[in-house]
């Protein structure tokens, strides 16, 4: 496990080292290329800024009004059929919209149930095996100018439900 920790610390610097070394051997104007890319990066963020602000406000209102909890309470009878604990539901829903919001909720769950509890463990797996659905969809599609997303959202929601169920199954298998 020490090795893994070591790998995780050295990973990104080593990755960058390899890119730079490779490009250096090819005699490329490294810094010029970097600044060119970084400039495009700033434009990218500028382009996705309105999407992020819009998403954050909508999910902020939805959460603080108590609507998120209401939806979770409505869904909990269905979830309990699949042995999905109710405290995990808001996490799963929030994860579809914002990674930072989901992380905040994860820390709350860790504090109230413990990291190694059934709920803490399920939450850990759940957040490791899905990405933020609506963030990805809106940022990618809006930047490409696509308006009709066809089957992306239904398939994404289906995938989120699958990952929720799989996380619970795996937790039961690994903890008990």
């Amino acid at each position: 496990m020490k090795l893994l920790h070591f790998v995780s610390i050295f990973f990104i610097p080593f990755f960058l080292f390899l890119i730079v070394l490779y490009a250096l051997l090819q005699k490329k104007p490294l810094f010029d290329l970097f600044t060119k890319g970084a400039k495009a990066g700033i434009t990218t963020v500028y382009q996705i800024a309105p999407t992020i602000i819009g998403l954050f406000v909508a999910i902020g209102v939805f959460r603080s009004s108590g609507a998120l909890d209401l939806v979770c309470n409505l869904l909990s009878p269905i979830a309990s059929l699949f042995h999905i604990p109710t405290p995990i539901l808001p996490l799963s829903l929030l994860k579809m919209f914002s990674a930072s919001g989901a992380n905040g909720l994860l820390f709350d769950l860790f504090k109230s149930y413990g990291t190694d509890s059934y709920i803490g463990f399920t939450a850990s797996i759940l957040l490791s095996c899905t990405e933020t659905l609506f963030y990805t969809v809106s940022v990618y599609y809006i930047s490409a100018g696509v308006k009709k997303t066809r089957w992306t959202i239904p398939a994404g929601i289906f995938l989120s439900i699958c990952s929720l169920w799989i996380s619970c199954l795996l937790t039961r298998y690994f903890i008990h």
Binding site: R150, I166, L170, T171
Partner: protein
């Protein structure tokens, strides 16, 4: 669909707040969430610019091209109608690698570049730029199904919050990611072949 969903979040939220007496909390959250968004954007500006800079270096020195060659057989399965030497392949490949290695922030610039190329392809095919192509949907779904091998952030969070076994999630998380990715691949292959593709 996004438009309707966004509106629903706000309308349902405000109606609920009116009935539960949470209007003050809503007022606060509007201010807070815009602040959070801008804070995130500031962090993003730095990190995304940095990764985009390294992406251009990797691209110009031919690293991405080479990686694409290794991943090509797998990518051809997922994107059967994408011309083999299309530049979109390079970005899709770079994006998947960033995802697999868990380089979080490096995913967005590569992903946006891939979407741009897919959009150009859509125009070359003479199709409406408003409608997502099968390739775009597949690419998005695979991005949503997290390809990350080792959830480093999660391990760090777990040990920060007092877990005695922070690394215990590596194996179950790997299994979960593998299963969701497989489901995503199968789902995309099924949906791609539907007749309604524009």
């Amino acid at each position: 669909m996004l438009n309707i969903l966004w509106a629903c979040l706000l309308i349902v939220g405000i109606i609920t707040a009116a009935f539960t007496g949470n209007l003050e909390a809503v007022n606060n959250s509007i201010l807070e969430s815009t602040q959070d968004a801008v804070e995130l954007l500031i962090v993003m500006t730095g990190i995304i610019s940095m990764w985009n800079g390294f992406l251009v270096i990797a691209e110009e020195s031919g690293i991405t091209k080479q990686l694409t060659r290794y991943m090509c057989p797998f990518l051809r399965l997922l994107f059967p109608h994408l011309p083999p030497s299309h530049p979109a392949f390079d970005y899709i490949c770079a994006n998947f690698i960033a995802n697999i290695l868990g380089l979080g922030w490096a995913c967005t610039p590569t992903g946006l570049a891939a979407m741009k190329q897919l959009q150009l392809l859509q125009q070359q095919r003479g199709r409406s730029p408003d409608i997502a192509s099968d390739e775009m949907c597949t690419f998005l779904i695979l991005n949503i199904s997290s390809l990350q091998l080792i959830p480093m952030n999660m391990i760090a969070y777990r040990s920060k919050y007092g877990s005695t076994t922070p690394f215990a999630i590596i194996v179950p998380a790997l299994i979960a990611t593998t299963i969701t990715t497989l489901i995503a691949c199968i789902l995309c292959r099924i949906l791609q072949n539907r007749k309604d593709s524009p």
